[in-house]
Each structure stands twice: as C-alpha cells, then as structure tokens.
C-alpha cells in the first residue's frame, strides 16, 4: 500500500537574552557548573520568578516574523513533573494561552537539493510559547550531579502542524525556521550549544485517508540530520509494521543516534499527567498596541523575500542572491556596494568569491571586513572603465584586504594603471619579437596559439599593466606586416 507520512515538529529554541527568563543570572554558556545560579533558578524555598521582558519581546517578534497572531492576553502555567534537573519540580510554561498563535514557515527545497532551489512549500504553525529550560544531569561512577547553569534559560517552543511529509521537508523546514530566528536576532540557534532541540511527532496513513494515523513522538533530538535520520527510520518502521498487519500504539520513543534506531520510552497509558494550572506567582501578560507597535518596528525583511527582491533589483543569479540573503549582514554589505556601482553582477562576484574566501581564511565576520562596500564598487569601476585589467584587480584586492585602503589609491601609488598607449606597447612588442624568433616563426607558420605566448611575454615585460587586447592587436599588426 502507498502511505503518506505526516510530521509535526515541536522545536525548542533558546531565546537570545542576556539574563535568564525569571531571574537576573547570565545565560552565558560554558561557565563552571552551578556558578550562574541564584535562589530563583535553583528553586530555593521562598524565591519567586519575575518575567524577563526581552524574552517576551523576542517571542512576540518571532510570531510577527512568521505572520502569526499575537495574543493580547496570555499567561504562564505550571507543568508538574519530578526530575532531578528540574529545580522546582514544575516547569513554568504556557498551556492554553500561548503568546503566539498560528503563523507559517515557507521552506525551500534548495537546501536538500541545489537543483530544486526556488521550489518552496509552506508549513503551518500551531503556536509559539515561552518557557524555562531545565538543568543538566551528569552521571559519574557512583554518583550523579546536576548543573543548574542552564536552568531558567528562556526557551521558545515552536509547534508546527503535521504538514511535513518527508525527512527532506522536515530538514528544509528546520533550516528555514533557523534562518528566520537568526535573522530576527531572536536566537543564535547554535546547535553545538544545544540551542535548538526537537521533538518529532510522526504518523503514517494510507494515501488519500483523511484522518491522521497513530501518532508517535520522538523526543529530544539536537541535530537536524538526527531529525532526518530518525524520521526516515521511524516512518519506515511504521509502514513495515502496518504492512505486516501489525498495529501501532500511541507512544513516546527515543532516537538512538549511535544505533540509528528509535526505541520505546513509554506508551499512552504511562503518559505523564502534567497537572497544568495557572502560575500564581506571575501576573497574566497583557500586550497593548503601543508596545506591539514598538516590537513591529524590529521586524526585518525575511531571507526569502530578500532573495527575490535582490534578484529583481540587481539582476544577480538566484543562487548568489540566496547566499547573500542567508546572512543579513552580508546582504546589507552587498547592497551597500551594489547601490554605489553600475555593475551589481560584478559586485556580487567580488563579494561571494574573493571577499568571502579571504574573510573565511582570516576568520573574520562580514562586519569586520577590512574592505568596505564603496571600495568594492570602486574596484569594479576601475576594471569596467579599462583603467586596470581584471588580473591587476585581483592583486589590488589582495592589497585592499591587507591594508583597508581604497583601490584607486593603491593603483595610483603602485602605478598600476593599465597601459593602452600604442607607442609604449609597440616598444614592448618589438623587444619581445626580437627576443623570441622561434615563437615568431611558429606564428608565421600558422600556429595561432603562439600569439598567446608572445602576449604573455609582453604582459610580463609591462608588469601586467598593458591592456592585453591592445597587445594582441599590436603583435598581430607587426607580425603580419
């Protein structure tokens, strides 16, 4: 039978804030265990939470970025369960009144296959809510310990509808989501620091059937490729089970990355009863229009819109536009240079090839680039006007990167202006013809390639300053004369 796979993701993303969500402890990563803690995030007796407004603002901004409805009235709830990494044995989360309702994420298949660039689909979101992270358990030979540095870090939980139908779609959705969140300054989405974690809800149904199949939840994956592999494995497992005539049960499973399999954690009968109830220590959240208008001002242009706009406006290839749009700072850099230039297509080549390569080598971010956008435009103009050759331009760029100086100044100082003067070129040509009788003879015998060798010699003699086309014309004139 032909099955359709239905995947919904619950993505937990660390919200980028200086301090934790309910206390003033720093959210910095990698500190000595249990140093970024206080009575509040340790759940000490008598301590009380106080909401971090930045965390609310960024969650709302995320909602605006995905075109969601922002709840004017929202509240926090206690989710009750016992676990040693949980300081209060309840997590402050949001149950029935989340900050953000609905929204969509458009994702592009280009990230799974370059050839499919521009082929997009939309995944609907159910909600986004704000909650606190827990600590981290460590197990030693005979004892266990808990590091509470991470406890109380703000997390956004982004819940999608079961709109995704393959591991590729799940991967492309996550990539698009990450791009949006980084774009909005909402999260750094640093996977290595565990800033993005995923629960996957997956079911299969005979193609054409309306109702969803039996749902299985796979818990706590922290890489996108893990999600991809787990989805592939789990979908296959479910389809095979059904094909064998077996039955699927609603359950929670764990992904074992090493073994490449999912295994059962608990079935529905053993599901937690979280006993949610409204958090009495926090007031309900009311967002007024003035506050929302302030947040709305922070909404940036999203990558997909930016890419389309840049292709249209600058006439650059979609692939390059995609590279630029994926990084807001890089796109801004390009646009600054392109707007100062008559030739954006050339600008994009300099930026995506030479500049990015040198920045990567020097381990610099685009914001730290020694070469400023107007200098790229100036360099392109020097080439286009024939003042320097493309070859010389490469050398000038190296110098620009090294010193941060303007290309015109480098060209002037080093006397790199291209020589198009026929008199000067003629003299170089005469010298080369005199010194290379054999090559000259080859050319005269009809070997066209020999002209390249002679041109090269002239260029060398002129230290690269001669206009290559003028050299070829002069050589041809002298040798056929």
């Amino acid at each position: 039978m032909d099955y359709e796979i239905c995947i919904g993701l619950e993505t937990h993303v660390q919200v980028k804030t200086r301090t934790k969500v309910f206390c003033a402890c720093p959210t910095e990563f990698g500190a000595e265990p249990n140093t970024n803690v206080c009575p509040v995030c340790l759940g000490y007796p008598g301590s009380l939470p106080v909401i971090n407004e930045v965390a609310i603002r960024k969650t709302v901004l995320a909602g605006m970025l995905v075109g969601a409805k922002i709840a004017h009235h929202s509240k926090f709830d206690r989710k009750n369960y016992f676990y040693p990494d949980m300081p209060k044995n309840y997590q402050i989360s949001q149950y029935d009144l989340p900050l953000v309702i609905g929204g969509t994420v458009e994702y592009d298949f280009g990230v799974v296959d370059k050839k499919r660039l521009g082929e997009t689909k939309v995944c609907r979101l159910t909600r986004i809510h704000l909650e606190e992270d827990v600590g981290k358990n460590f197990h030693f030979e005979r004892t266990s310990g808990v590091d509470f540095n991470r406890a109380g870090t703000p997390l956004m939980e982004i819940v999608s509808e079961p709109d995704l139908s393959s591991s590729d779609e799940a991967f492309a959705y996550l990539t698009a989501l990450k791009e949006i969140l980084i774009y909005g300054g909402i999260s750094d989405c640093d996977m290595e620091k565990g800033q993005v974690r995923c629960d996957v809800n997956i079911s299969v149904r005979p193609r054409g059937q309306k109702e969803l199949g039996q749902k299985v939840e796979i818990k706590n994956m922290n890489t996108f490729s893990g999600v991809r592999h787990a989805v592939d494995y789990e979908a296959q497992r479910q389809i095979e089970t059904l094909n064998r005539g077996g039955r699927l049960v609603q359950e929670t499973r764990r992904w074992d990355d090493m073994a490449g399999v999912t295994e059962s954690m608990r079935t529905k009968e053993h599901a937690h009863d979280y006993r949610y109830f409204p958090e009495p220590d926090l007031l309900p959240v009311s967002l007024n229009e003035a506050w929302l208008a302030e947040v709305r001002k922070l909404v940036p242009e999203l990558p997909s819109a930016k890419r389309k706009r840049m292709v249209g406006r600058y006439g650059i290839p979609p692939y390059d536009a995609g590279v630029l749009a994926a990084d807001a700072a890089l796109a801004d850099y390009f646009e600054a240079a392109a707007q100062a230039s008559k030739n954006p297509k050339s600008v994009v080549n300099w930026v995506t090839n030479d500049l990015l390569r040198d920045l990567a080598e020097a381990k610099l971010a685009i914001g730290q680039s020694p070469v400023k956008p107007p200098h790229i435009a100036e360099l392109v103009e020097l080439v286009d006007s024939g003042k320097i050759s493309s070859k010389i331009a490469k050398d000038v760029f190296v110098e620009m990167f090294k010193t941060g100086r303007a290309p015109a100044a480098i060209v002037a100082e080093k006397g790199l202006v291209q020589v198009s003067d026929t008199g000067a070129i003629g003299k170089f040509c005469d010298e080369v013809i005199a010194a290379n009788p054999k090559i000259v003879a080859d050319f005269k015998a009809g070997k066209e390639a020999a002209l390249n060798a002679l041109t090269g010699q002239v260029m060398k003699l002129s230290k690269g300053k001669a206009n290559p086309q003028a050299v070829r014309d002069a050589l041809r004139g002298k040798l056929s004369g």
């Binding site: 009575p39 340790l42 759940g43 000490y44 007796p45 008598g46 301590s47 009380l48 939470p49 106080v50 909401i51 206690r78 009750n80 016992f82 676990y83 040693p84 300081p87 209060k88 044995n89 309840y90 808990v146 009863d273 006993r275 949610y276 109830f277 009495p280 220590d281 926090l282 007031l283």
Partner: protein, 487 residues
Amino acid sequence: MGLNDLTIHELAGRLAKKEIAAADLARDVVARTEAMEPKLHAFLEWNGGELLTAARDMDERRARGEVLGPLAGIPVGIKDVLNVQGHSCRCGSKILQGYVAPYDATVVAKLRAAGVIPFGRLNMDEFAMGSSTENSAFGVTHNPWDLERIPGGSSGGSAAAVAAAEVPAALGSDTGGSIRQPASLCGVVGMKPTYGRVSRFGLVAFASSLDQIGPFAKDVTDAALVLGAISGRDPNDSTSVPEPVPDYTKALTGDVKGLKLGLPKEYFIPGMDKEVDAAVRAAVDKLVSLGAEIIEISLPHSDYGLAVYYIIATAEASANLARFDGVRYGSRAKDAKDPLDMYGRTRGAGFGPEVTRRIILGTYVLSSGYYDAYYLRAQKVRTLIRRDFMEAFQKCDAILTPTTPSAAFKIGEKAEDPLTMYLSDIFTVNVNLAGICGVSVPCGFTKQPKLPIGLQVLGKPFGEATILKVAHAYEQATEWHKEKPKI
C-alpha cells in the same frame, strides 16, 4: 516589669531620648524568652548573643547621631517560614533540616532597613498547614493564657511570643487565617494585609495566591508601625502592587464617627460559642457608641469558602512543595536506588501527615479528568466570594465579624479530626480567597477558663488604614489589650 513588656511606640520614644538603650531592651527580651520558653516553646531557635550584638550596634549608631526611625533597635520575632540570611528556615518541617537561608526575605530586608533586629525562628504548623501548631515537626507551642491549650496556627509561635511579651512584635504569614486566628486565641493584634500589599519574596510558599505576610503586635499602633515598614511594591515579587504606602499611624485618630460598619449575617451562626458571640456583639455596640453606623449585610457565598479554600490552597501547595525532593537542600534519604526512590523516601520521611494529606488532595484536584470539576469550579466560586465582598464594600467602609467561632481548644482535642480543625478557619478563609485585608483585635475573654476572644475587622483592597482606624478606636475605648497572661 521589663522593657519587653512595653509596646514599640512606648519603647521608641524612650530609645530616641536615650533614656534606655536597645541593648537594655535586648537583655530583657532574652531574659524573658529564657524564662518563658521551657513552658511555651514559641521559638524553634533563638540566639541571645546575636541579638545583643546587633542591639549594641544600633546603640552605637544612635550615639553617633544617626537619626533612626521608631523601629530602630526593636527585636521582631520571625516565623520559621521566612528566610533570614544565614539562619535555618525549616518551616516546622523535618524535610528542611540543615537548610540555611542564603538570602533575606524582602520583609526581613525592609525591617533591617528600618533598624529592626530579626530575632529567632518562631514555631508553626509544618509549612503553615494547620490551626494549632500541633503539626510542627518540632513540638507544639503552648497558649500563654492556658498552657494546656493550643495558641492557634499556623503562626502559633508568633502569637504566643508576643502574648507572653517575649518580643514586642513578630511576623507571621496568613493563608487562610494563620495570623488572625492565633492572634485572636492569644489575645494580641494580628493583621493580614491585602494580597499584593506586602512582598512574598522569601516567604516559603504554601498557597501562592493566598499567602500574605503580616505583623503580630501588642496593640494596633504597633501593628500599624510594622505594617508600614514591610509594605510596598517589590521588583522581586510580580504580585506585589505599586500602591503607595501611607503612614498607617496617621489613620489612628480614634474617630470612627459616621463610618459604616457591615455585619454579615452569615458570620453569626447557630452553634457558635455563646461567649464569643456575646463578646463580638458587645464590641459592635461599643463601636456604635463611638459614633459608627452599623448596617446588616450579606455575603451569600460564604458557606463555600472552606471547600474552595481546601481545593485551591492544596492544589497550589502540591506544586509549591514539589521542590522538597532531597536534590539541592534539606534532608535526603540515604542509599536511594534511583531518583524516584529518593523522592519517595525523602518526602515520605520528611513530611508530616497533614502536609502529606494536603499534597495528595492538591495533586488529586489538579489531575486530568478532575481539574474542571474541582480546581476550575473552585476558581469560579472564588470569584463569587470576592464579588460578595466588593458588593458589600459598596455599602460599608469595613466589616465586623468574630475572628474564630470559639476560643482556644485543648492540645490534642482536635488533632485526630482534620475536618473539625479546618472549621476553626471558617471566618478567616474567605478574606484570603477575596484578597482583601483583615485585622484581629482583642475583644474580651471567656470566663472559665479565661481565654481571649478576637474581633475581626475586614477592609476593602488596600483599605488597611480604615480597618486599623476602627480596630484602634475600639482598642482605645476598651481595656482588653492591657490584660496580660499570668504564666
């Protein structure tokens, strides 16, 4: 008579004029406490040396010419539920054995700022759950008026310590009557402020939406002084309210002429102790003679208060007390096999029967399938109870009721019957559910044995000044507050 027998406002004048030193007061407080404690057991811990040192510091500051407020150098007893940095804070429970508070509760910090010296750890029902202090894991406190009787609870240690003049004043917490009921049974003034008036930061939570911290004092003026010092918005407590804090002592004019006082018919019930009924009615007459106007009112949903209270309070408690798990502080069961085993054994050994009962009840009412029928319904009825009060306050400035249906009962008398015990809060719980303020002031004694009776004055949200005015006018027109227990 020692300095410990004086009120704060009497002491303040003499301290300011340097007729006495804070160290003199501290010495008398320590002497009295030493003498009383073997009989009362109001304190779980106290440190006379520490008090004396702090008092001498205060005297030095005064000697240097620092201008100090009326509370400077006054020792105030602290209920074991409030964090005082560097001190134990066991909440009357074995489970917090070994826990040392790493910070000051906001009320403690505010009192320190006013020059108060926090003194000792006052006994209480475990986690403030109880009406007699019999639920303390560390032994019952005895009522100074009759040592065979309970002092009330849960802040029984606070009430007994003030009644026995061990300390001039004390702090307690009130979730369903835990300040007013013991104040009534011990013959002192006890005040529960409006929810949000006083920061709860540093108060170990029983039921977060009901808990408030308040003062115990020998008279209304002292209660007003301490209340003023601890009130106000606290950035560490989101539920504290940015309402300005007036000088409550300015309201104590003795003038109640024209004030409308409501008598809710639901609070004068058959089966109530006759002497209590008579004392409260006499108090009402006294206020009429002072010029107040009495109007009959109705609070029709009053009867549901206890049921609603035991659903909401236990639900919140079941989550609030989940943190006592042996992982980070307090006691931990040894040699547990796994976390679940550790939780079960730590909590099983650490919590007493009443706390266990309430955690189980609270867990039940929040459980899937029961939430709507219990918790959600209780919240709706709570809204009705609050509405009753708000409508009543359209017609009157304050409400008068008995604080408790009877005077102090004997130790052990109700210990085996939790439901009967719960009934002793019948006149106080609705005030917490409604979030309004209330004060209990002595209004007479039963004859045989001689036990104190309390008049409860209730006010609208942030109407503390009004109820203190009424309580003060009544107090000054009577002699009850001058009677002291003979121990």
